[in-house]
């Protein structure tokens, strides 16, 4: 995310992944004069992979937009002028910044031009004019108003409109006005844009996979996971729960493999400058296939710390955002290992291609009923075929084998 210090009163095009060099602002989620809290969403940035909603990490006031919608902007270039809210300027270093994005910037892939004194000086005059003559609307209020089809004109000028104000207006408006915004948006002339996006995504996948196949000497190790008992335990767990609280097998498998990746650290990290760099945490890339074709691979950071319920929650939100084409900055963080799951009804197994600079990709096939030998008897068991695609420069088949053993053991005590 953007470096914002006391002398740095601009919001810059963030780096949303190591291979991003430029992006376009395709939608502003704020307006000049808006007061933002840490974490408020500012804009939607289009990258080759996905549209990403970017946020601020300090309280600030939006002053002026510096780029046109759709304009191609290099990473690190200013896109909006802002003023830090009182107190925020006192700390020269942003707190709790998203680590992976920072590291992409810090590793020299991003150069940040210093803001000119002249542009900063003009700031304060712009503020007052931008705010005068209309209601001040918090970003949450604006978003809610959009979602519920509530016109902001109904609020008097000069007062601050909060999200609660909008929700109150929604209740007063009754179900009809509300419903209008709730209808699924009709197919529009965005079809052309969708086609362009799909081909841009295809090209991104093509470049990445080409590089992977050319550079990485892959090996594959496979095994069969008996998930009969895990599925049984998930069923018991889910029996009394509403749909929003239920667990699915992929979440439980991800907990087990994040734990195994943490344990067998040789698979969890990156191949850089002819050597393996281990990752301290497990930042799990999840391959999400899109309904219109193509994939996006958002990341669940710190996956080794999540229990099954937390993993399920993270996956629900992530898949939802990925499919809507609106990822968050944290979702775009560099993964340390990736999982590709074909889904319950999918084919039996997948032997994947590693996403460089990572050194392993875990493939999970669909759930099948197969004959297995249990206690010297053949039984019909539910199984999932697991594969490890490994980078043979970084590790060997024995490492992947150890990973699968750990994964299998971990599954015995889940969820």
């Amino acid at each position: 995310m953007t470096e914002i210090g006391p002398d740095d009163q601009v919001y810059r095009m963030p780096s949303l992944g190591a291979d991003m060099t430029e992006g376009r602002v395709i939608e502003w989620l704020v307006e000049p004069g808006d007061h933002l809290e840490r974490g408020d969403l500012v804009a939607v940035v289009e990258t080759d992979k996905s549209d990403i909603e970017v946020e601020v990490f300090h309280p600030c006031v939006v002053e002026e937009f510096l780029v046109e919608l759709g304009e191609l902007v290099g990473v690190g270039e200013p896109v909006a002028r802002i003023t830090m809210a009182d107190g925020a300027a006192a700390s020269s270093h942003p707190v709790e910044r998203r680590q992976p994005v920072v590291s992409a910037a810090a590793s020299g892939e991003v150069s940040r031009p210093a803001p000119s004194a002249a542009t900063t000086a003009r700031t304060s005059t712009t503020t007052t004019t931008a705010v005068r003559g209309r209601a001040r609307v918090s970003p949450r209020a604006r978003r809610l108003a959009g979602e519920h089809g509530i016109s902001l004109d109904r609020f008097p000028d000069g007062r601050v409109v909060t999200g609660d104000d909008v929700l109150r207006a929604v209740r007063e408006a009754g179900p009809d006005e509300d419903r209008a915004a709730d209808e699924p948006s009709p197919a529009t002339s965005d079809a052309r844009v969708e086609v362009d996006r799909a081909s841009a995504m295809r090209r991104t996948i093509a470049r990445r996979m080409e590089r992977a196949w050319a550079e990485i000497p892959h090996y594959h190790v496979t095994d069969t996971l008996d998930v009969t008992d895990v599925l049984q335990r998930i069923q018991v767990h889910n029996a009394e729960l509403g749909p929003a609280e239920r667990l699915l097998l992929p979440a439980v498998l991800n907990v087990a493999l994040a734990d195994a990746a943490h344990e067998v650290g040789e698979l969890n990290g990156w191949w850089r400058d002819d050597r393996f760099v281990a990752s301290s945490g497990v930042d799990l890339g999840i391959v999400v296939s899109l309904r219109r074709g193509g994939i996006v691979v958002p990341t669940i950071a710190g996956a080794e710390r999540l229990d099954s319920g937390q993993m399920m929650e993270a996956m629900r939100e992530l898949v939802d955002r990925a499919r809507r084409g609106r990822l968050r900055v944290a979702d775009a963080a560099e993964a340390s290992i990736t999982v590709s799951n074909l889904g319950e009804a999918g084919a039996a197994s997948v032997l994947g291609v590693i996403h460089p600079p990572q050194v392993a990709l875990i493939g999970l096939g669909g759930v099948r009923v197969e004959p297995l030998v249990v206690d010297d008897r053949v039984e019909a068991r539910r199984v999932v075929h697991v594969s490890v695609a490994g980078d043979h420069r970084a590790h060997d088949g024995a490492t992947a084998s150890r990973f699968i053993q750990h994964l299998t053991r971990r599954l015995e005590s889940l969820p």
Binding site: R143, D178, R179, S185, P243, L248, D320, G343
Partner: protein, 106 residues
């Protein structure tokens, strides 16, 4: 920032909810499917076929559908009944028989 649910789905389901007709329930079901699979021809979807297969809903999508239907009708469909809701007809019958009711607004 906390994700805020949008639309009437977020309304609390209360006891003074209005009972829905079978047609209303079918509309609610179709609308919920469209939200999850915007590209699918849900209006043209036959009511006696396996819609999960037809619309290509994976287990995550299906759970999202059940979550939406619980919000819109107040009916919680447990896993043990999944086999009974394989077609739109079965799903709508299931929801109607269990007193599907629109959440009260206001």
């Amino acid at each position: 920032m906390i994700e805020t649910p949008s639309g009437p789905e977020s309304a609390e389901h209360t006891t003074d909810a209005a009972v829905m007709s079978r047609d209303d329930v079918l509309d609610v079901v179709r609308e919920a499917i469209v939200r999850i699979a915007p590209d699918a021809d849900v209006a043209g979807l036959a009511t006696d076929v396996d819609y999960r297969d037809e619309v290509d809903l994976d287990s995550m999508d299906f759970l999202a559908l059940l979550t939406a239907l619980e919000r819109r009708t107040g009916v919680n469909i447990p896993e043990i009944d999944y086999a009974d809701i394989g077609t739109l007809d079965q799903l709508v019958d299931y929801l109607t028989a269990r007193g599907a009711a629109a959440p009260a607004t206001g």
